[in-house]
Structure formats: C-alpha cells, structure tokens
C-alpha cells in the first residue's frame, strides 16, 4: 500500500542552488528508500518539504492517500487546514543530521514529552514506551542522562527513539550519520537496519553508499533538484544507466577509497 506520494514538487530559495524542481515518487508501506546525490542536489530540501519544515512552491503530496498539499491545474498551491496538517504531521517522523535533542530534558523526557503533550498519551504509558525503545537501541542505562553526557552516536539513537515514540507511519532521516565519525556511524546504522527489519517505512538521505546498498529496497539518485535515476540498489549501484549517476558513483568510490 502506498504511504506517501509526491507529484511534481518544486521548491526554490532566493540565493541558493539547493532546489527541488519537478520531483515525483511514491513510497509503499514497509519500504526503505535511500536518497543519494551530490551536495546541493536538493535531497535535504525535498525531505524538509515532505516533513512540512518547508512549504512547496508547486506540486502535491499525499500521505496515506490523503492530501497534504495539492496544486490545481492553474498552479494554485493549497495546503490542507492547520488542524489537518497537525494530524498529518503526527504520521511523519524526522531524524536530523545534528540530532537536535532538547538539552534541558533528560533522555527519557526527550522521548516522552511529545507523546504526552502532543499525542495525549498518559505519562505512565509514554514512559513504558520510551523505556522499551531505549532497551531496543541499547541505551536503557542512559534514561536519566542529559544529552550533553551522550556521544554523537548515542545522541542520534535517542533522536531515533524520540521520533519512533510518536509511532509515525514513515520516518525520514536527513543524513543521520554525517555528523558522526566512522566508529559511531555503525551503531546508528545498526539501529536503522533493525527498524528496516521490522518493516518500518523509511526514507533516508545518506552518503553511506554501502548502507544504501544493503538496507534500501529502492535507491533514488538526485542531481540538480531532479530524480535522475531510481531503482533497486543492486541494479543502480552496479549498472547505472544515467551518465550523471555513473559519474557520481565513480567519484564516490574514489573518495571513499581515499
């Protein structure tokens, strides 16, 4: 079943090259989609449009079949009213490159605050959900710690648990390991792998090619704001058809080998 559908999305900013120009794709339930591409290719902007951190200039987005934003044939962009957007937002989770944990909350409260305040969960239930999630990411002993006491890898795992506590239908990752050194990257990727094994629907913007190859069901290659090529990882990584994909992947292997 299709969980997210984007049609002909456009987004640009004054004075930057990071744009999205005419992107369409869909994600099915349980699917893991990796988005790769050079810096400034619009990957992060696309993710920010999908998670309502930015408003699109044109195009339509449907979440679980329901419209979030639509564009009429005359080019009029209409977002659904705020109370509906609030409901849609609850279906979408996001993990940032820089974690963005709340420094004044303990790890436990970072995870329970939104379920209690936004989703209306009882504190007891939220805490039991949080403790289960902490056990799953191997950080049960850190429940009472504060973010400054965590390593980057631990912080990112907590950020994933915080997003998962809202039980989203789809979880977006914006370069989740780019702020981490290689040693810590592994522990975060392992958590994402485990989520994939549990059929969590995910869209991951990443520079970790081997991860994309191992975990993703489908890989999207973006360049200059457009989807240049997409397909299953084995095909895309071994026999890319597009020249830009070939060039990017060859560069990438040179870089990662260095």
């Amino acid at each position: 079943m299709e969980i997210l559908k984007a049609e002909n999305l456009f987004k640009s900013f004054v004075g930057t090259e990071d744009v999205v120009s005419g992107v369409s794709f869909q994600i099915n339930e349980g699917e893991v989609v990796a988005v790769i591409g050079p810096s400034g290719s619009g990957k992060s902007t696309l993710l920010r449009c999908l998670t309502l951190l930015e408003r699109v200039d044109h195009g339509s987005i449907f979440v679980a079949g329901k419209p979030m934003v639509t564009t009429s044939p005359t080019g009029r962009v209409t977002y659904v009213p705020e109370e509906q957007l609030r409901k849609i937002r609850l279906r979408l989770g996001m993990v940032f490159q820089n974690f963005n944990l709340f420094p004044h909350f303990s790890v436990l409260r970072n995870i329970t605050e939104a379920p209690i305040r936004v989703a209306g969960m009882s504190p007891a239930e939220a805490e039991s959900v949080a403790l289960q999630l902490l056990a799953k990411i191997g950080l049960s002993d850190k429940a009472e710690a504060y973010p400054y006491q965590l390593s980057g890898g631990q912080s990112q795992r907590v950020a994933i648990a915080r997003a998962m506590a809202m039980k989203p239908d789809i979880l977006f990752f914006d370069e989740p390991t780019s702020a981490l050194d290689p040693e810590l990257t592994g522990e975060v990727l392992k958590v994402i792998r485990n989520l994939a094994a549990e059929q969590m629907t995910m869209m991951v913007v990443t520079h970790e090619m081997s991860f994309a190859r191992d975990v993703a069901d489908r890989v999207i290659f973006m360049d200059k704001g457009q989807i240049v090529e997409e397909g299953n990882p084995d095909t895309l990584f071994t026999t890319p058809t597009n020249d830009r994909t070939k060039a990017f992947l060859s560069n990438y292997h040179v870089n990662s080998g260095a």
Partner: protein
Amino acid sequence: MFLFEHGAPLLKQLSLLGAGALTTLRIFFLTLLFSLPLGLLIALARMAPQKWLNAPVKLFILVMRGTPLILQLIFFYFAPFYMLPEGLRFNISRFPTAIIAFSLNYAAYFAEIYRGGIESIPQGQYEAAAVLGFTKSQTFFRIILPQVIKRILPPISNEVITLVKDSALVQVLGISELFRVAKNEASRVFSTTPLFIAGLFYLIMNWIVTKLFEAAERKLSYYR
C-alpha cells in the same frame, strides 16, 4: 560621637533610613514585577517580521536606552499634564510615575537581553519541536524559553544589580527613598555616616541579589 552630640539617637536615625530602604525595596520589586514580563513582550514584538510592529518597538528601545533615566522620570511626571490637550490633562502621583518610568526603561534593556537569548537558540530546536507536532506556544514555553533563561541569567543579574542602585534616581521626583533620606540626614546632623549606612544597605542588597543569581545558575547547571 558625632551622631549623639547632635541629639539624634542612632535608633531613630536607623528607623528613618529603614523607611527609606523600604521605599527603595518597593521600587525594586515592583519594577522587576512589571519589567521582566513586559521585556519579553517587547522582545517578541521586536523580533516580529511585520515592520509595523518591530519598527515602533525599535524606536521605543532606542529612546529608552538612549536617554537618561532621570530625564524619563521627569518626563513621565510632567507629560500627563503638559503634553495633553486641555480637558484631558491630569496630574499623576510621584510613586506610580517612578514605577512606570523604571518599568518601561528596564523592560527595554531586558527586551534586548531576551532577544539575544532567544536568537542564540539553534534553529534545529524549533525544527525538532515542529516535526514532533508541538504547537508554537508549547515550543516557546517548554523548549525555547527554559534554555533562554539559563543563557540570560548573567546579563539579567547585571541589570538587576544596576536597578538596586538606580532606584536612588527617583529622588528627582521628591520620593523619600533610601539615598534621599540618607542625604537629608547627613546634612541635618552634619555627618557622612548616614550616607555610608545607605551605601552598606545597597551593598548588602546586591550581595543578596548576587547570591540568588548564583543559586539560580547552579540550579540550571544540570544541563549544558
């Protein structure tokens, strides 16, 4: 001793100074009570994207920080009478005038401190709150403001300490606060002792203020 030679028992003098100190304390607490929340509103208006809102607020902050507080005291005392057309004129009593002038003046300073604190919070905090579904007011009061308060405690304590001493300015309106009482006593008994007693009072009060802010900083040191 000088004090007794002039027939002013020390106890009587202390009670006079005590009454002045009480007025000083009233000015201090009332000013904080009004200026701390007002400063936050002014800061939010100052940061609003709408020019019709932020431009007058910028001008207000410029005037309040750019002219002497003693002049503002005089202005607020005479303005209701001299600046209003006949028929609308009224006289305002001294003490409320002092509180209004002090609250507006300190709110302007606090506003800029709040603004500095709010703008120092990374954008990512707002974005994380937004994707988790927090409303704007939840985001501000639960996520942003607590972090702002921790960051602005040192500059706020600076202002509060200054306020203790600035309270002496209200004597320009003839209000008998501590410094005026001390000065009058000093000329009456022909001794500087009352002035030094007043000085000691300001010092003790600011010692307490300093200790309170240190305690607050310690309380918020559980995170970074």
